[in-house]
């Protein structure tokens, strides 16, 4: 856009502050760089604001949660102590961790197996079937939501965790695509040598392809972990009828929102909702701090397949 003032733009360059030294030989106008950086900082503040607000609110006493101060007038660290008595948070977090881990582990292994099938072997109908895999990516989840519920009902597994990750046993389209791309990049001679040495197909997959695909395996694992951790609608469908201790963290926070809702009785103890919200978010931020490049890489790949 015009405001970012690339090379050919306005030259009212007053040498105000020392410009960041240009890294490329292309000429950059300092004014452009300054405007650009200011814009980026402005957006950074906008994106950060709700999170900072959340941290602040979680440290305020009941009456001040709504005051919008980013630095609490009265610090109340006890919120973080009391919340464990107020809400079965430990149960929720344990449930969420377990479910997200199972979901991620299952889908990353099963998708890898299927992806290797599509990448290495030649068989009739392969490209048609792979086209079908890609097509299922476009299928809106709401279309299969009801029959999926009924399928789990008929297996008698309603009320357990299984409906929340069971389908992951069969691989998932985007992850299959991602792993297949990676396997296709491996030199075929690698596998042919193993064949000559008498490896079985499974050994080729498990001993050669899998260890080499760790980077894209991690992308799949992290993506699914995040998706399963955040899965609110699934938990609402499958766990809401059960005991509160059996909720996942997102379902628990929603429960807390209603329990402490300001409309549910004046100035309720909404600070506990804030603490709980923060505690649901923190594991994801932690995950991101360790695996940032995997997340970015995964999302970028999503766009490239189009």
């Amino acid at each position: 856009m015009a405001t970012t003032a690339p090379p050919a733009a306005v030259s009212q360059a007053g040498p105000s502050t020392p410009p960041p030294e240009p890294r490329r030989p292309r000429r950059r106008w300092p004014v452009g760089q300054i405007v650009l950086t200011l814009l980026l900082i402005g957006f950074a503040l906008l994106f950060l604001y709700p999170l900072v607000w959340l941290v602040a609110a979680s440290l305020k006493p009941s009456g001040q949660v709504f005051d919008n101060a980013l630095i609490p007038h009265t610090w109340r660290f006890d919120n973080y102590v009391e919340v464990w008595d107020q809400l079965p948070l430990l149960h929720w977090i344990f449930n969420s961790v377990a479910i997200a881990f199972l979901a991620a582990a299952l889908v990353s292994v099963s998708s890898s197996v299927v992806a290797f099938g599509f990448a290495y072997f030649r068989f009739p109908g392969r490209s048609v079937l792979f086209g079908l895999v890609l097509a299922t990516m476009m299928l809106p989840a709401s279309v299969t939501m009801i029959p999926t519920y009924l399928i789990w009902k008929q297996t008698g597994l309603l009320g357990t965790w299984v409906p929340l990750f069971g389908a992951n046993l069969f691989g998932s389209a985007f992850y299959i695509f991602l792993q297949r791309q990676f396997f296709l990049g491996l030199p075929r001679e690698l596998f042919e040598a193993a064949r000559i040495d008498g490896s079985s197909y499974w050994q080729m997959f498990w001993r050669i392809a899998m260890p080499l695909s760790i980077p894209s395996f991690i992308i799949v694992f992290l993506f699914e972990f995040q998706a399963a951790w955040n899965n609110f609608q699934g938990a609402l469908i499958y766990l809401n009828a059960g005991s509160v201790e059996g909720f996942t963290a997102p379902l628990g926070v929603a429960y807390a929102m209603t329990k402490y809702s300001p409309t549910a009785g004046g100035q309720a103890d909404y600070q506990y909702v804030m603490v709980a919200s923060l505690l649901v978010t923190l594991p994801m931020l932690l995950l991101f701090s360790f695996g940032q490049r995997y997340f970015i890489e995964g999302v970028a790949t999503q766009g490239r397949k189009g």
């Binding site: 960041p20 950086t37 994106f47 604001y49 709700p50 299922t136 809106p140 709401s142 279309v143 389908a167």
Partner: protein, 304 residues
């Protein structure tokens, strides 16, 4: 050995291939194809949840869809949301991606910050925005007030509840941004150099080089965001329909929310299945139209 008969399939290898993809085939038959046929059958019957029995219902459910003004209403709300959200998301994401692509230094830092909302679970976003959007005490209206604007009652005024969901969607726009950023990085630098030698300004460069070169990513994002917009659930449900004692403005009833209520609150599975199929058909048509329009202007590179 494989090289010798490259054109014919090796039987052992083919069988092994089928075995490797068999989990997906099983999943497809049960959870995709099976589920879709099942849901189609349910939509044409009266379904009794207690016995799992279907009684033929003909077009009853579809007729009921037409008779229920809330179906049309929720569809209208959803359409309104999509029409507002998708272009705004695409424009903001593209704008941010262009900024990040230009800045060079510090791009990594800003990208990280921008991505944080995407990592925030929907419930946490909802519980915070519920307060930020409060018409009287919320931070958003306080900020507006400080520049002399009296903000709307975001969560109460029927005209503003949909824009408030759009605002939350925009906060999490960074996924789309990352896809654009990856596309921008693939645009060959020399194209810009040639263009600036020809005297093309930044605006012309954007429309004659950048936009055509990343049209594939624009196309992809529009389709994906549209499909997502038609299924928007979490935020609307959490802000407006979570508390069943609360009276929510009707304009916050999105299609996916009503579908959920019909299925899992009223247990009208036949009606809800018909709703799901209607949504599927609408999305198919919409996507087909988008693909048609897209093919006209999307530039594909020779190699993929």
């Amino acid at each position: 050995m494989e090289a010798l008969k490259a054109r014919k399939y090796n039987r052992r290898e083919a069988i092994a291939g089928y075995l490797f993809i068999s989990p997906w085939i099983a999943g497809f038959l049960i959870f995709t194809l099976g589920a879709m046929i099942y849901s189609l059958a349910i939509s044409f019957s009266h379904f009794n949840l207690a016995t799992n029995k279907m009684r033929p219902g003909g077009l009853d459910n579809y007729r009921a869809l037409l008779d229920d003004p809330r179906v049309a209403g929720s569809l209208k709300n959803t359409l309104f949301f999509a029409v507002l959200a998708v272009p705004l998301e695409v424009m903001l994401a593209l704008f941010l991606a262009i900024l990040l692509n230009r800045v060079g230094r510090g791009a990594g830092f800003f990208r990280t910050v921008y991505y944080l909302p995407k990592m925030t679970p929907a419930v946490a976003t909802a519980s915070v925005f519920l307060l930020l959007l409060n018409g009287n005490t919320g931070a958003i209206n306080s900020a507006l007030r400080s520049i002399g604007v009296e903000g709307p009652q975001w969560l109460v005024d029927p005209a503003w509840v949909r824009p408030s969901i759009v605002l939350m969607a925009l906060w999490g726009v960074s996924g789309t941004m990352v896809i654009f950023l990856a596309a921008l990085k693939n645009v060959p630098r020399d194209l810009y150099e040639v263009a600036s030698l020809d005297g093309a300004g930044p605006v012309r460069q954007f429309f004659t080089i950048t936009l055509p070169m990343i049209s594939g990513a624009v196309f992809f994002n529009v389709i994906i965001l549209t499909i997502a917009a038609f299924q928007v659930f979490d935020q609307a449900y959490l802000l407006f329909w979570r508390d069943q004692t609360n009276v929510a403005p009707e304009s916050s009833l999105f299609y996916a929310v009503y579908l959920f209520q019909q299925a899992f609150r009223q247990f009208n599975f036949g009606f809800a299945a018909a709703m799901a199929w209607l949504l599927f058909v609408i999305l198919l048509i919409l996507t087909a139209i988008q693909v048609r329009i897209g093919n006209r202007f999307v530039y594909y590179e020779g190699e993929r």
